[in-house]
């Protein structure tokens, strides 16, 4: 069987689709057509590959984490080093792709939403690189928490707009970016940062991120001579996980494991794990698992990692969960912190708090699979941005 989702309307089973006001339908159809052409166009694909090589620094290494493997006492663990990309995370793979497409479509202005600021920085970076005007929407709450990334975006020439509506976080920034897009659609391209939103975004972002999994497929051969037994990635919106999983969907021997943010614990309700503890609904242009009240209001999420602090998840993950092709688990704030310290101390690699959730689950999974197995953990970003959060949590003032 060859995996061929989404369908023409952008559906992954009952998930995905296009749930937007009529005003946005034509822009989305135009984007879908433009992306469809670019996908088939060798010149575009070559340009994208060259940018990834020369500007992002790809391929990112696949690193055998021998001391971590020894510590966990199970399967051999490899880390896919997306933290070594330009700007320090996987986010830039996607912003390069979408910005090149924006240029191609003749758009002169790009906008983005951002939570922790990583996608905002990655967007501001490519906007500077390509000479595009850039506006980033960011929750007022997040602007307080992520002052350094706000300044980075400004240094890169972007305008950062504080969002004061709703819960003043990522989901509200997304609402605001959509409002900007609907108003300025003639000259503006909306660069969504994850595999969510209305079709074609989930598929397009996945395709731009799929370079991660394609590299893993050949890199693992050098060490193992075969495909890995499992892939592990953290899931907020889910773009780093989709990018890793996608090239392996037709390989049933490869288990796919997504790790959501269990925050203070799934039982407390203070988490950001819609696949583990939410239910299907419609938000931000697609049908997917959501964190919501019984009467369909979106609720505030909690995670120590701002990048996972989102009440929805990409619709393809919802489909992979229901179909059983992937499974989804959750790691708490404390487990992620412990994994952060562990990897920092024994491998000298400081993971982002988001990626620390994946590292946290790698331990139990490695023991479950045993010493004959090998697993790849997506180290989606580096942890420098989180040093202040961790210090504050541990009562240290810098």
């Amino acid at each position: 069987m060859t995996y061929a989702l989404p369908d023409e309307g952008g559906h992954f089973g009952k998930y995905g689709g296009r749930f937007v006001s009529e005003t946005l339908m034509r822009p989305l159809l135009e984007l879908e057509a433009a992306y469809g052409r670019a996908r088939q166009d060798r010149a575009f694909q070559e340009e994208f590959s060259e940018e990834l090589r020369l500007y992002v620094g790809r391929p990112s290494p696949l690193y055998p984490a021998r001391r971590l493997t020894e510590k966990f006492g199970g399967a051999r663990i490899y880390l896919k080093r997306e933290d070594l990309n330009h700007t320090g995370a996987h986010k830039i793979n996607n912003t390069v792709g979408q910005a090149l497409l924006a240029k191609r479509m003749g758009k002169t202005r790009v906008i983005a939403e951002t939570g922790a600021g990583q996608h905002g920085v990655a967007t501001a970076t490519v906007a500077a690189r390509l000479g595009l005007e850039c506006v980033v929407y960011m929750g007022a709450e997040d602007i307080q928490r992520q002052a350094i990334n706000v300044y980075r975006m400004k240094l890169l020439g972007a305008k950062v707009v504080p969002v004061t509506s709703g819960s003043r976080t990522l989901k509200d920034a997304l609402n605001e970016a959509m409002r900007d897009w609907v108003t300025n659609v003639d000259n503006t391209f909306y660069i969504i940062g994850t595999v969510a939103g209305p079709h074609p975004y989930p598929a397009m972002v996945r395709d731009f991120q799929a370079v991660i999994g394609r590299e893993v497929r050949y890199q693992i051969m050098e060490f193992e001579g075969r495909l890995p037994d499992a892939l592990v990635a953290c899931v907020g919106g889910g773009s780093n996980a989709m990018g890793l999983f996608f090239p392996f969907l037709d390989d049933p021997s490869v288990a796919l494991v997504g790790v959501e943010a269990a925050g203070k614990g799934l039982g407390t309700g203070r988490h950001a794990a819609p696949l583990s503890a939410g239910r299907p609904g419609v938000l931000h242009g697609n049908r997917t698992y959501l964190m919501e009240t019984d009467d369909g209001q979106i609720i505030e999420t909690h995670s120590i990692s701002a990048g996972l602090d989102y009440p929805g998840v990409g619709p393809e993950h919802a489909w992979l969960k229901d179909s059983g092709r992937a499974r989804y688990v959750a790691a708490t704030d404390d487990e992620a912190l412990e994994a952060f310290h562990l990897l920092t101390r024994i491998e000298g690699i400081m993971p982002a708090l988001e990626s620390s959730h994946a590292v946290a689950y790698a331990g139990p999974l490695a023991r479950e699979l045993g010493r004959d197995a090998c697993i790849v953990v997506n180290l989606s970003g580096r942890g420098d941005k989180d040093v202040h959060t961790i210090a504050a949590r541990e009562g240290i003032s810098l």
Partner: protein, 282 residues
């Protein structure tokens, strides 16, 4: 009672009067004022009431209506509560159509079937789901229709002839033309562009055409009333309600005064007009 929307537009057409449709958010700023406010709006000249269902993430709305949703949600106004308000309104008013306007997720949470039955029983006449384009809307439209509730759809400046045809095939009651590219309450309304677009829409449907988004003054309402079947006023009214959030007992009077001004401005145009019936404007 089904057909209340059709009856109202028929009657208005016969009288050469353009419908005035005020939008309020249910439960804004507090639930107890909503039903009295609806009656006050009708008395001041509203022909149809559009009731916003509060939602935590109103993506297509500008700041004014977002804040109204937030005020209502501080009182935990649920979709079921909104239906209860319509039921209470119906005790005294069985003639004025009520159209709910909101986002899909609260409807998904309740379930399409349960919602449609609840809407009919409460006396809701139409439902406009902002984030439900025709591509995704066939199922809900069908479920609503089977209960005699009209599925109202949006048309936008970006809708071409093919999309207009697709939407009016699915739509009931009236179609809601979004008069500008942007969110509710934006300010850059180009009346002549709207008039041109309405000609295209009328070539495809005999449904009445309402115009909304960006109509904030009696002058703008009068201009649009020259060629539309209905003028929908949301943010300008909701903004006045929001300004009185701390004095809720003044809201009905002030809102009625504003609706009265809009009514007078629209009637001054319509009385000088040709009195053509909706659906047959050239």
């Amino acid at each position: 009672m089904s057909g209340r929307l059709a009856a109202r537009f028929r009657d208005l057409g016969a009288r050469g009067r353009v419908a005035l449709i005020p939008f309020i958010t249910a439960g804004d700023p507090e639930p107890r004022i909503t039903v009295p406010l609806m009656h006050a709006l009708v008395k001041a000249g509203a022909d149809v009431i559009e009731m916003g269902v509060p939602f935590s993430d109103p993506m297509a709305d500008g700041p004014v209506i977002q804040k109204a949703s937030e005020r209502a949600l501080t009182h935990h106004v649920r979709l079921a509560d909104v239906l209860a308000m319509v039921r209470e309104f119906r005790v005294l008013d069985s003639a004025t159509p009520v159209v709910l306007m909101g986002y899909l997720n609260p409807v998904e949470a309740m379930g399409y079937g349960r919602f449609a039955v609840g809407a009919r029983e409460a006396g809701v006449d139409g439902v406009l789901t902002v984030d439900l384009p025709p591509e995704e809307g066939e199922e809900l439209a069908g479920v609503l229709r089977r209960q005699g509730v009209e599925p109202v759809f949006l048309l936008a400046p970006t809708s071409d002839a093919e999309r207009i045809r697709r939407i009016v095939r699915l739509a009931g009651g009236f179609v809601y033309y979004v008069s500008l590219r942007g969110v509710t309450g934006s300010a850059n309304l180009d009346v002549s562009e709207v008039e041109r677009k309405l000609k295209l829409i009328r070539a495809e449907t005999r449904l009445p055409v309402g115009v909304g988004f960006g109509i904030g003054s009696p002058e703008a309402a009068a201009k649009v009333a020259r060629f539309a079947d209905a003028v929908i006023v949301g943010s300008a009214l909701v903004g006045r309600i929001g300004a009185l959030a701390s004095q809720p007992d003044r809201i009905a009077t002030e809102a009625a005064a504003f609706i009265g001004q809009l009514r007078a401005a629209m009637d001054s145009v319509a009385s000088g007009g040709t009195g053509t019936r909706p659906g047959v404007h050239a």
